[in-house]
Amino acid sequence: MSAHEKAAPGPTVIPFGPQHPVLPEPLHFDLVLQDEKVIDAIPQIGYIHRGLELLVDKRDYLDYVHVAERICGICSFMHGMGYCEAVETLLGITVPDRGRWLRTFWCELERVHSHLLWLGLGADSLGFENLFMAAWRARETVVDVAEETAGGRVIFGSALVGGVSKDPSDETLKRCIAAMKPVRAETLRLANVVMNESTVRHRFEGVGVLSKEMAYALGAVGPMLRASGVDYDVRRRGYAAYAEVDFETVTETAGDCMARALVRVREIEQSFHIMDQIVATMPSGPVAVPVKGMPPVGEAWVRLEQPRGEVLYYVRSNGTRNLERFRVRTPTFANVPAMVEAVRGASLADVPNIILTIDPCISCTER
């Protein structure tokens, strides 16, 4: 072939990440492009593996909850609580009512703060800085409430095997609900922006479509699955106090980026609705039961619904103070195959949006 002849243009591979302006955490994709179209994406994870699961056989099983909480900065309380629930199942402990109610309150608080954080990051991924700032300003009140009730803004630090370690008074909780009223109004306003703003609609509507069948077949979880029209929410299992509260499982049918955004925005409203009921029906009494002795030989697992979807915790004990195995299957890990499917066929410029609408949490995934 002479220098003047051009070879037929074949696929190009563009590396995406691990350092990329839209990615808060390191995730790498090899995007196989034909012209501007993504024909395949090869994900690669493993940049921030910390070996937290292995620590479980070095730490006392009651102290490990502090390590479990640090798996992720956004769903910290749920990671701690999931570990506790698994160990409680192993030990056959029943958490007192007030403890269960407080756990539900903090779970929903975390969901609100995670979804508002996501809304900011999603807006940032399409260059909508104004919405980003507005969402994060609203979130500030929510993390303040977390600090007032649990003691920490990000790492709540209130999960404990046998219950919870903090007991905010009923007045504090009522004051917190009142303090979050403006956040509710602001969320509705931001939901309106997401639905009607032309820049958001241009970037989100019809982009990264995941069909109901594919979402189900690829094992997608959380808002990713519900945005494709599958009504599946682990909270319906009724762990903590979810059996006693009334809430709606938010689903959308379009399966595109817009549907995923709307599921999250509407879930915020549902979370506030749950928190209202929790505070209104808060029982009195102890928040934790004392836990003594060694865990019995055996294994246990529980499932929870995190802001990003279903998470599974597995613990195995050999009868000593150190558990033998702890395993977390995180929602982002479950969503990676669906994410690859959603990216396929999109144009290169839409890839950041699509990846952001999965709400990837790579720290969770790699533990």
Binding site: D60, H66, R70, D144, E148, G152, I155, G157, P168
Partner: protein, 129 residues
């Protein structure tokens, strides 16, 4: 959103003018760990339960030391303490003075702070880093 942009001309900033305006801490805030050292029996249960290995206890030398940078303020030491001499303060640790690098750790020494006579004397608050 245009309304928001317009309104922002007439509203106060959403942020505080830190460090002139500091948000007060909440009662429940996990700030830092305090040791009421005269009550301490140097049993090293706190060091054993610390997930960050921030606490070092040397019974022979009469030393109790916490590394404020390593401490994750989880409160595991407080729950483990058999004499309840450890407590959570809602005041965060002050900024670190880098002219004095060991300042990142806070140390209690039996030589300067003798153990409380039995029965335990009223808690003498120890100045902290």
């Amino acid at each position: 959103m245009a309304r928001t942009a317009f309104r922002n001309f007439f509203t106060k900033p959403a942020t505080r003018r830190y460090p002139f305006v500091v948000r007060p801490v909440f009662e429940a805030t996990r700030g830092r760990i305090l040791n009421d050292f005269p009550k301490c029996i140097l049993c090293s249960m706190c060091a054993k339960h610390c997930p960050a290995n921030a606490i070092v206890v040397d019974k022979a030398a009469g030393l109790w030391r916490i590394d404020r940078f390593a401490c994750v303020i989880c409160g595991a030491c407080i729950r483990a303490c058999p004499v309840k001499c450890l407590a959570m303060s809602n005041e965060r640790a002050k900024g670190i003075d880098f002219s004095d690098i060991p300042g990142r750790t806070h140390e209690h020494n039996r030589a300067t702070e003798p153990a409380a006579p039995k029965p335990a004397a009223p808690a003498a608050g120890t100045p902290n880093a």
